[in-house]
Amino acid sequence: MVRLSSFACGLLFGLGLLLAGMADPAKVLAFLDLAGNWDPSLALVMVGAIAVAAVPLNLAQRRARALLGGAMQLPTRRDLDARLIGGSLLFGAGWGIAGICPGPAVAILLTGHWQALLFVAAMLAGMLLFAALEGRRGR
């Protein structure tokens, strides 16, 4: 049941990305290009998503257990550190180069574009590099 719910959420998320225009790297870059011919659409994707998610996520945060019985695992950290800032700055630079963030990268993987495969391979390599560096640091 938890897997079915999870699968349905992923499907819904992907349909939302496609409908919103987030799956089109050119549209994402047009949003990030403030000094060019600016397309403000993607700001509204965030507005729509937060408007729907804000109340349910705050309710979820107050619960001890999820509705399907599992533990509530929403993040609880509140500290601001250099890793959070540095990592996010790097992520934004990559996002600005290609116009692709992790959700759309997965959602367009099976649409027959070799560019999506190349981007996802590099992204997974970046994640593995992080895991390797962290593993060495933790030892």
């Binding site: 959420c9 819904l12 939302g16 994707v45 929403l74 367009i108 390599a125």
Partner: protein
């Protein structure tokens, strides 16, 4: 500032955003998890961890979304404006950056801001800032 009114798609952007928000809401309430794609991917790349099947199921759904869409309508346009080298550099930066930063557009930008998490608000300001700056540098200073 020059607004691209011809390319502006407010209704589909809002409706698509609402679907993303609904997905995040159900995933948090029913499964007790944050719909953060980089976190889901990153934790599956580690050798062990809890909830692997559940996390993988979300990603399989995300992966299959365009196939379901394709059964009913033509897929929206997907255009790439980046060279192979650019895609590789971008992918590496996105992969390593989202792991160090503990999240991406979904986990921080949508779920975190919805929860008013100070970490997510700061992370979102950071990646939006370098996103805007990078496009400005590449398009208007370097003319790529």
């Amino acid at each position: 500032m020059n607004i691209d009114w011809a390319g502006f798609t407010p209704w589909s952007a809002l409706a698509g955003g609402a679907l993303i928000g609904l997905s995040a809401a159900i995933f948090a309430l029913a499964n007790g998890r944050v719909a953060g794609i980089s976190g889901l991917l990153g934790s599956l790349l580690q050798r062990q961890g809890e909830g692997r099947g559940e996390k993988a199921a979300f990603l399989v759904g995300l992966l299959l979304a365009p196939l379901l869409w394709g059964l009913f309508a033509a897929l929206p346009s997907i255009h790439f404006e980046t060279s192979s080298l650019g895609l590789i550099v971008a992918g590496l930066l996105v992969g390593i950056g989202t792991r160090y930063g503990s999240g991406c557009t979904s986990g921080h930008g949508v779920c975190g801001i919805s929860r008013l998490s100070p970490r997510s608000v700061l992370a979102t300001l950071c990646f939006m800032a370098t996103g805007f700056v990078t496009v400005f540098v590449l398009r208007h200073l370097l003319g790529a």
